[in-house]
């Protein structure tokens, strides 16, 4: 077993564990924090996969902004426990079955029907650097950039509109 594999195993275990913890935690805040942890672990994995820029983006945007937003909302709305009684008794068992099935199928595909070369090609030096990704972005994918910015604007506006207090009828 190479060090890469061991490293990878450790990271995997961490990622899966945090994910499961997020899933099983009864406290919403804990769940959120576990997810943040998960994102950080995955960001590390990105680094290891020569996607430095993306890793940083993941940490800054995903873990730093999005999850913080989640945290705000959780604090705002309710980390309260929800009653255990539910009308959907079959939901959990079926979910387990189908989820397991999905995992099994995907695992089967990836493990027993591999495609592509067995060994990974060497990585050029600047692969995954901000300069490389940036130049690709602003040359090939200029239009999507602009559209994405508009999208962000729209979502900002939408969020504000949605959370505006209702106008009282008689002012």
């Amino acid at each position: 077993m190479t060090t890469d594999l061991i490293l990878f195993a450790v990271i995997s275990v961490l990622a899966v564990a945090t994910a499961l913890a997020m899933l099983f935690s009864r406290n919403a805040v804990y769940s959120t924090l576990f997810l943040v942890f998960n994102f950080l672990v995955v960001a590390v994995l990105y680094l290891l996969l020569n996607a430095a820029f993306i890793a940083m983006v993941q940490v800054t945007v995903y873990a730093g902004a999005i999850m913080v937003l989640f945290l705000f909302v959780v604090m705002l709305l309710g980390a309260e426990q929800l009653s255990g009684r539910t009308a959907l008794r079959w939901q959990r068992p079926l979910a387990v079955i189908f989820g397991g099935a999905l995992l099994a199928i995907i695992g089967y595909v990836f493990l027993f029907r591999p495609a592509g070369s067995a060994s990974l090609p060497p990585v050029p030096a600047e692969f995954g650097s901000p300069a490389a990704v940036g130049s690709e972005l602003f040359q090939q994918y200029l239009v999507p950039i602009e559209i994405a910015s508009i999208l962000l604007l729209v979502s900002m506006v939408g969020a504000i509109v949605l959370t505006r207090p209702e106008k009282r009828k008689a002012e």
């Binding site: 959907l88 939901q91 079926l94 979910a95 189908f98 099935a101 999905l102 199928i105 089967y108 595909v109």
Partner: protein
């Protein structure tokens, strides 16, 4: 060879169609403008039309003098189908001209008389508006009669035959709302029409037989072929002639179809005079004479004709003896005299028959018109008497009843005179016309058939008797009612034609004096040379003697001791039940009613109520058809449409509903369920892709 070839029309013959046209024009003018232009105008136009017709008849007579074989005037094509060709053609020969002259001549006089008579009659009956209508019908009658006598074929003759029947009906029921029970006159008209119909049916069958046997309807052609076929056609010819006799029986009021004529007296008197004495009723005799070829070929039929005529003559005469209505006596007298004519043509004495036809027309028309004068005189008297006295109870006033007359000789001189002339002529007393014509018939009968002879002689005896009875009852003795006592003579417009007819009755015998045989020679051209009857002094003497005896008897019973008011007829005591029979017309009408009419009504009722009503309507239609149809449709709707068709679609809908309901349960509303479904689907698809 009896059939005479006729030349094509030319010269005066071409005017022949006018004889039909003038009366038609007269009636059209009266129809269109008559009502507005008044009685005077209407009478003038109507009489004028007939006068013009007489003029045309005279022209034809003159034309025949120069061309005795006659002519055939074709007016237009009428029927041309295959082998049947019946053009509208007039046959102008001495026979038809004789009839033309007689009819138009007598019609003229009667039209003039009617101008005066109807003037009073419409006021007496209370509807002056009908004056015009009368003359329209009268002219129509003359036109139809002309069609009849000038017809060149069976069919054209039949058209006229039907036409005069129609006019007879229209004129008998002229006062249609009057009469017994408010419809008596209308019923009389209906009776005349229906009884005539029976005769017409016989005529129609004869016509069809003729066409079937001989392939044509024209007289000339039929006669020619009948003669050519000779004995081979004997059966058919007998059948044809017998059916022609049936037709004549109807139209000329012989046994057994005479019953309509006495009832026809419900019409105004000029109608009785013209139609039911002089012209229409003679159509039967004319028709037989026209078909003399066929009758000569069928001796059996001729015998039947003679017997029918003789029997009718006697039978009707007996009834006439017991009648009290002045017109009814004359009606039965007419039937009796027609019997004489029919007997004559049955014996083959066509000339004698035609002779008597003409003379009878004169004096019978005279008698009827005079009777009309008498009736109106009594009506006028009643009017005066009613004005003098207040209304008194008693039997309703009947101007026709002889028992309410009497002593009119003094009050109505002219009428009495002409009536007497007519009566004497009818009785057959020389030298008036009736003697010569009747005697010729009797002479012929004595030579051929003794039974017929004795029947006719007896009838002649009774004729003289009942005329005498009538004269004494009406004109002599003392008036038996206030009306008669106040009777007034008729105006000149009525008495002048009477005088004309009286003159003709006196000199009419000259038409065919024995030895001279003017009419006989004249008719030769149409009928072929016939054996002229010689004058038989024995027969003549016997008939005159019997007539005188009869008159004497009548005087004995009615003249010597005039009938007093309210007393019964002396014959009742003498003859007892016989007289009752005579009085009641031997109950023939009642017999017919019971035997035929009532049976027919029962049959109709049966057919209507049982067959048509109960069977056809109630059972077949309502029960069978309607109910089955309803049941059928109800089964279709309730049993088939509702459960099956509706059920199918309803079931479909319910199925959809249930399916939808079932599927709706998938929409739980829970997002998690939907997500689960998504996942399940994704798993399935992946599995299929991978392993499928």
């Amino acid at each position: 060879m009896h059939v005479v070839e006729t030349a094509q029309a030319g010269g005066l013959f071409a005017y022949a169609p006018l004889i039909i046209l003038f009366p038609l024009l007269g009636l059209l003018v009266n129809l269109l403008v008559g009502r507005r232009l008044g009685e005077r105008f209407v009478g003038l136009v109507a009489s004028g039309a007939v006068v013009l017709g007489f003029v045309v008849a005279v022209l034809q007579f003159l034309a025949l003098r120069s061309a005795p074989e006659g002519a055939r005037v074709v007016v237009a094509d009428w029927i041309a189908i295959g082998s049947l060709s019946v053009p509208w053609a007039l046959k102008i020969d001495s026979l038809s001209v004789t009839m033309m002259l007689m009819v138009t001549g007598v019609s003229t006089l009667i039209h003039i008389y009617a101008v005066g008579y109807m003037h009073e009659d419409v006021r007496f009956q209370g509807d002056p508006g009908r004056y015009t209508r009368f003359f329209i019908y009268f002219n129509l009658f003359v036109a139809a009669m002309m069609v009849l006598v000038t017809g060149d074929s069976f069919l054209t003759l039949f058209v006229g035959w039907e036409g005069v029947g129609l006019c007879s009906y229209l004129l008998i029921g002229f006062w249609y709302e009057k009469g017994a029970g408010g419809i008596g006159n209308a019923l009389a008209g209906k009776k005349a029409f229906i009884v005539n119909r029976i005769g017409d049916f016989g005529f129609l069958i004869a016509m069809l037989l003729a066409f079937w046997a001989f392939g044509s309807l024209r007289f000339d052609e039929v006669f020619l072929r009948a003669e050519e076929m000779g004995p081979a056609a004997a059966g058919v010819v007998t059948a044809i002639t017998l059916f022609l006799l049936v037709g004549a029986t109807g139209k000329s009021a012989q046994l057994p179809l005479y019953v309509w004529l006495p009832d026809a007296m419900a019409g105004p008197t000029p109608v009785s005079a013209l139609i039911h004495a002089a012209t229409m009723v003679t159509a039967g005799i004319y028709m037989i004479t026209r078909n003399h070829v066929l009758f000569e070929l069928a001796p059996f039929s001729s015998n039947v004709v003679a017997w029918v005529g003789a029997a009718t003559a006697l039978f009707a005469a007996t009834i006439a003896v017991g009648q009290y209505d002045i017109k009814k006596v004359l009606a039965y007298s007419t039937i009796s005299q027609l019997g004489f004519m029919v007997a004559a043509v049955g014996l083959g004495a066509y000339v004698a028959g035609m002779f008597h036809l003409v003379t009878h027309a004169f004096f019978k028309a005279l008698l009827f018109l005079s009777a009309g004068s008498v009736i109106q005189g009594v009506e006028r008297g009643h009017h005066h008497a009613a004005q003098d006295h207040t209304a008194h109870g008693g039997p309703p006033f009947d101007p026709n009843d002889m028992r309410g007359m009497g002593g009119l000789a003094g009050r109505m001189r002219t009428t009495f005179t002409v009536y007497l002339i007519g009566a004497v002529a009818l009785a057959g007393i020389p030298p008036l016309a009736g003697f010569f014509s009747k005697d010729e018939i009797l002479a012929e009968a004595s030579r051929q058939d003794p039974i017929v002879y004795w029947l006719l002689t007896a009838a002649a005896f009774l004729t003289a008797f009942y005329m005498g009875r009538q004269i004494w009852m009406v004109f002599f003795g003392r008036p038996r009612s206030s009306a008669a006592a106040a009777a007034v003579e008729s105006p000149l417009v009525m008495t002048a034609p009477l005088a004309g007819l009286a003159l003709l009755s006196v000199v009419g015998g000259a038409l065919n004096l024995p030895g001279v045989h003017t009419l006989g020679h004249w008719l030769e051209h149409s009928l072929g040379v016939l054996e002229a009857g010689e004058f038989n002094p024995a027969v003549a003497l016997l008939s005159v003697g019997l007539a005188g005896l009869a008159v004497a008897l009548a005087w004995l019973l009615y003249g010597r001791t005039p009938l007093a008011e309210g007393r019964p007829d002396p014959l009742r005591r003498l003859l007892g039940p016989l007289f009752v029979g005579m009085e009641n017309k031997w109950k023939v009408d009642e017999l017919y009613d019971w035997l035929i009419v009532r049976r027919y009504v029962d049959l109709s009722r049966f057919l209507a109520e049982t067959v048509d009503g109960r069977f056809w309507h109630d059972w077949f239609h309502d029960l069978l058809l309607a109910r089955s149809f309803r049941r059928g449709t109800r089964w279709l709707s309730d049993g088939f449409d509702l459960p099956i068709v509706d059920g199918f679609f309803n079931g479909l809908a319910r199925l959809t509903g249930r399916a939808a309901g079932g599927l709706r349960s998938l929409q739980t509303g829970y997002v998690r369920n939907y997500a689960l479904a998504l996942l399940a689907g994704a798993v399935v698809v992946l599995s299929l892709l991978l392993f499928g």
